[in-house]
């Protein structure tokens, strides 16, 4: 077993939707995610993957059970505290890029860091350039976000997710809108982040190759975990 620091843990998370009728979307979901792990969430459409991801994101607080991030219980905290936790510890990548159209790519990447206020404006700018460079976007930095291709925009949104060096990066179908080349590119970046930066990635995906190549895959069906194969750090045993 490798060094297994638990970075995120859920304790019997359950959630109901009441519209149009009451039904249980998530049922007794308990798992742990480790530092440096590349974790994928799969399952049929409607199985509750996105719903679970939003619970993990701290943006959805209407669930039962408990959520721990970096050893700290976040369930029950106030919304402003949760916003601060997100700013510091969680990065997001969605299927859509959600870049602010009036701002340059660079500014879009800088905004979460300026909000966090940990670094000076100049340092933030430097770091944003670094992240964009890492994603091969240095030349696009000063262009308005709306003037980029879909793949470039998605990479800018990844740079934005990385700017505060979050421990956790949550992704909902991050490659859903990308062609296979761009998808592979994003996958490689994620791989590298886990390996080199020790960041934990939890990604919802429909892409089988993407899931297969991740460290571990959790499969959901009707809101329940039905398999957590390829134990993280135990791949050498199973081979």
């Amino acid at each position: 077993m490798k060094n297994q620091t638990v970075i995120l843990r859920t304790q019997s998370i359950g959630k109901y939707f009441y519209e149009p009728i009451r039904f249980k979307v998530l049922d007794d979901v308990s798992f742990e995610a480790y530092a440096g792990e590349f974790l994928t969430l799969v399952g049929k459409s409607g199985s509750g993957k996105s719903t679970l991801l939003y619970c993990l994101s701290t943006m959805d607080t209407a669930y039962e059970g408990e959520l721990f991030i970096e050893g700290q219980k976040v369930t029950g905290k106030k919304t402003d505290e949760l916003a601060a936790i997100r700013g510091k510890s969680i990065g997001f990548v969605f299927q859509f890029h959600y870049l602010l159209p009036e701002f340059s790519c660079l500014k879009n990447v800088m905004i979460p860091a300026l909000k966090l206020g940990k670094y000076s404006h100049r340092e933030v700018e430097e770091r944003a350039y670094q992240k964009l460079d890492m994603l091969g976007l240095k030349e696009q930095a000063l262009k308005p976000a709306s003037k980029l291709s879909g793949g470039q925009q998605q990479r800018v949104s990844i740079a934005r997710a990385l700017i505060n060096d979050p421990k956790i990066i949550l992704c909902d179908e991050p490659t859903g809108n990308l062609d296979s080349k761009n998808a592979q590119n994003v996958f490689d970046i994620f791989k590298q982040l886990c390996a080199e930066m020790g960041q934990t990635i939890i990604a919802v995906t429909h892409d089988n190759d993407f899931a297969k190549n991740s460290d571990r895959t959790i499969e959901l069906a009707d809101g329940k975990i039905i398999s957590q194969d390829k134990e993280f750090g135990s791949s050498d045993i199973s081979s």
Binding site: S50, Y54, S57, M59, D60, T79, D80, A83, A84, R86, G87, K88, F92, F94, Y98, L99, L100, E102, F103, I111, P112, L114, K115, L116, G117, S120, H121, R160, N164, D172
Partner: protein
């Protein structure tokens, strides 16, 4: 440094929607300009009517009020039978008893800035067959001039002879016109006590107030006492001015216990005119408030539109660590910027309106359009403008702060 990003986002939103910002701001501009204009006008009217009033009326007046006769036996309960009685005015003399002691006492009060005795006599003015009714004001001319600024209204002759001559008189311009009299002509004055005095006109004043100009003359206080066949202790009125005329009512109440005579403040005497002023003021304020409310609605609308279009942006900001209060700050700041632009333009336009109108000649007693530059109007309109825009911004901003990012990301 930390919250600068909120400012930056707000400014970017404003800069990328210059046209809408300007439209919203112009609404505020109209409201503010209207508010400044109408309030300055009201203040101008108010000040004008005050100067008119204070040309002839002191802030406080002490005089002997009419007494009504009382029944010999007072009813102590409503059911008691009372001797039939017919109430009548029983005032025998208008004089204030021991007036100079009272005057000295009044002058001793520290809130009184000046006080003077006066003898007012109802008289007829005659020249040959023509006759006019009026009131002769027996005054100490130096004191009266200090109080009413008579000198400023003089159109011919001089006030000076009144200080020692008992046969000199200064008359209102319309009296002179109607009786066809000029400077140095003789005016016959007949008093209600039957005394006839022929006096020389040494000066003519014109207040441009018709009633005053055709009924009032000034003469020496002793001359007025002669008209009623009385001696030097006959004083009908004591006039007093205070520093701030708006406090007249309070000071009249303070002064009242000193004397048994009636102390009346100018606001009580002119309640009708002042009530009219107040109603006009309320009307114009409510009209400009209504315009400001419409302007606020404009801002509210534009922010609501912005927010509806920017739900995605708000969602990602909240996801990346912006708290509800950051979102509120961003949008309230946008409203505030619109408000500041609009208010500033409104102040400028309001000032220009005042500048232009105050130069318009209208004739009559006012001469120029009675509008003037009052800093307090500019201050209150700025405060109103900004408060209303902040209020108009807060509602949509609050809505934005409550946007559920999950609901947005799910779409």
């Amino acid at each position: 440094m930390r919250s600068n990003i909120n400012v930056e986002i707000a400014l970017t939103h404003i800069f990328t929607r210059k046209r809408q910002t300007l439209v919203a701001a112009l609404g505020v501009t109209m409201g503010i300009a209207m508010y400044i204009f109408s309030n300055s006008l009201m203040k101008g009217f108010g000040r004008f009517s005050r100067t008119e009033i204070f040309k002839v009326t002191p802030h406080l007046r002490i005089y002997k009020d009419d007494e009504i006769s009382k029944p010999l036996v007072q009813a102590t309960s409503p059911r008691q039978v009372v001797i039939i009685h017919n109430p009548k005015i029983t005032t025998l003399s208008r004089t204030i008893i021991n007036p100079y002691a009272l005057l000295a006492e009044v002058k001793k009060q520290d809130y009184i800035s000046s006080a003077a005795p006066q003898v007012n006599v109802d008289v007829f003015y005659q020249n040959g067959k023509s006759q006019l009714k009026g009131v002769a004001n027996g005054v100490n001319i130096a004191e009266a001039d200090a109080m009413f600024n008579i000198q400023k209204t003089m159109v011919a002759g001089s006030l000076n002879p009144l200080s020692n001559s008992l046969s000199s008189v200064v008359v209102g311009s319309r009296i002179a016109n109607k009786l066809n009299l000029g400077l140095n002509d003789n005016l016959t004055i007949v008093s209600s006590a039957g005394v006839v005095k022929i006096m020389k006109i040494v000066g003519i004043f014109s207040t441009k107030n018709k009633t005053t100009d055709e009924s009032k003359v000034y003469l020496h206080i002793a001359a007025a006492q002669q008209l009623v066949k009385e001696g030097p202790t006959y004083i009908t009125d004591i006039y007093a001015n205070i520093k701030n005329p708006d406090e007249a009512l309070a000071y009249s109440q303070q002064l009242q216990p000193i004397t048994t005579y009636k102390v009346e403040d100018w606001k009580t005497s002119y309640a009708d005119i002042l009530a009219g002023d107040l109603i006009r003021q309320i009307m114009s304020t409510s009209v400009s408030m209504a315009i400001l409310l419409v302007a606020a609605f404009g801002i509210y609308n534009i922010l609501n539109m912005t927010i509806t279009q920017k739900l995605d942006d708000i969602a990602i900001l909240k996801a990346t660590g912006f708290a509800g209060r950051d979102i509120i700050r961003i949008f309230v700041l946008e409203a505030l910027i619109m408000g500041i632009i609009g208010t500033t333009l409104g102040l400028i336009i309001g000032a220009i309106c005042i500048q232009v109108l105050s130069g318009v000649y209208v004739g009559g007693p006012a001469d120029y359009f009675p509008i003037y530059f009052d800093p307090s109007v500019f201050i209150t309109s700025t405060v109103f403008g900004l408060l209303i825009t902040i209020g108009a911004g807060y509602l949509p901003a609050y809505r934005a702060a409550r946007v559920d990012p999950v609901a947005i990301f799910r779409k």
